[in-house]
Symmetry: C2
Subunit: 271 residues, 2 copies
Amino acid sequence: MMLVDGQPQDVVSALDRGLLYGDGLFETVRFVGAVAPLWSRHMQRLARSCERLRLPIPDPGLLWREAQAVSGGLAHAVLRITLTRGVGERGYAMPAAARVTRIVAAFPVPAPDATLYRDGVRLHLCGTRLAEQPRLAGIKHLNRLEQVLARAEWNDPAVAEGLLCDACGNVISATAANLFAVLDGVPVTPALERCGVAGVLRAELLEALPRVEVRDLPLHECLQAGELFLSSSVRGILPVQAVGTKMFAPGPVARAMQAHWRGLGFPMEQA
Amino acid sequence: MMLVDGQPQDVVSALDRGLLYGDGLFETVRFVGAVAPLWSRHMQRLARSCERLRLPIPDPGLLWREAQAVSGGLAHAVLRITLTRGVGERGYAMPAAARVTRIVAAFPVPAPDATLYRDGVRLHLCGTRLAEQPRLAGIKHLNRLEQVLARAEWNDPAVAEGLLCDACGNVISATAANLFAVLDGVPVTPALERCGVAGVLRAELLEALPRVEVRDLPLHECLQAGELFLSSSVRGILPVQAVGTKMFAPGPVARAMQAHWRGLGFPMEQA
C-alpha cells in the first residue's frame, strides 16, 4: 500500500523534481509488525539530510501514522519514505516555496535465506568507483545511478552484493549496505565524508561496539581482515564469505552484532 | 502538453525507477515552430547515452511524432524528453526486461532578454565542485543534485549562471550550459571525460569552429581568457560579462558562434 501526500494513490506528477533531477531523498525502514526498532535513528538521519538538501523537515508523527497505515497487516514490512522538492518551474533553481512531495509505501519483506546469515554472503568487487562529493556524502538521496551501474556488473544469483571503492582505492560500502572489517581484533568502518551513505544500522553499531574505528580503509587492508560483515537496516548483519575469490569466515564481532540486531527486536534470521 | 508512453497524461508511477533512483536520462530540445535544428544531434546523444546506461534506444521517428504533437501551437518551445528504466522490483538491480517510461513534454520558451546576448551574462563562481565519475560523465542523466545545490548558491536575479569546477580546480561548465574560453585567440572547451554534460550545441560548435581545443582548463587560466561564452541548445550562445568581480567583454568568437546559431535556424535573440 502507498500514500502520496497522505492520499491513497500510486502516481506522482511527471514534473516532480524527484523525477526530473533526483531532487530528494529516501529512507527504508524495517518493520516487525507495528514496531520499527530503528525508527528514531531513521528520523534523525532524515532531518539532518533534509537540512543539508534545504528541504523542509517533515513531522515525524505524521510519518509514523502514515507508516502504520500502509504497513498494517504485514508481519514483516520494508517501508520506503521518499521526500522530493515537489513540482517546480523548469530549471535547477529551487522553488521559492517548495511544496514537498511525500511518498510512504510498504513492501513485504521476502523470506530471508538463513544460510546467508549463518555462512555469509559472497561479494563481487565492483569496477564502478564511487565519485567523491562531500556535499552529498552520507545522504540517502535519490541520485543512485552509481549503485544501479555497480549492481549491473554481475548477475550470478549466488553473489549477494558488490564491494564499492572510491577512485583512490578505499573501500566505502556495498551497493546497499555498509561494511565493517575487523583488523587485529578492532572493527573498522570506512569514513563517509566524501562518498557513500551513512546507514542507520551503521550508526547503531558505532554506539554498540565497545571499540571501533572510522577511517579510510584501503582495499588491500580490507582484504586482509580477520572478518568482514555488512550492516543494513533492512537486512541486518550479514557476514561476508568471499570477496571475489578471497574467502572469509564469520567471526565473533559479526556474531555479537547479529545478537545486538536481534536484541533490538528484529527477528532471528541467522541460524 | 505532455505525453507519457504516448498517452496524454501528466503522472507517472510512484515506483518508477526514474523517481526512486534517478535511473534514466533526458534531452531538452529547442523548437522554432515545427522545426528543431539540432534534432539529429539530440537523437545521436540520446542513443549513445542509452547504450551507456543499458537502456533500450527509442525510435527517433516515434519521438519526433510525439514532439510535434506536444509542441504544436507553440511558436517557441522547449521540449523535454525523459526516458527512465520504468517500474521494477525494489532494489538497484536492473529489471531483466525493463519497460522504459517515455515522457515527452513541451514548455513555452520565455521571452529572451536581448541585452544578455549583446552584453553578456554574469556568472557566480560556485563553491560546489563536480564529482568525477567517468561512467556517467557526458550523459544528461537524471542525477542532477549537484546542479541543484550549485544553482542554490546565489539568488541575485542579475546573475544568470554559475561556473562549476571539478575538485582539482579545472573549469567544467556552467550549471546548465557548456563553456568556451578563448585563449591567445584559440577557443578551448573543457574535456568532459570525468564529469559534466556533453552538450549538443557544444558538439555542433566543435565542428563549426575552424580551430578548437578540448582539454583540461584550470580556473586561473580560464579567468585570463580574452573572451568567455556559454553554449546551450536551449538558450544559444551567451557571452560572459563577468565571473564574480572579474570582467570580460563579448569577443569575435562569441559573435561568430551567435551568427552560426542563427544560421542553424534559431532566432536572432542577440542585439
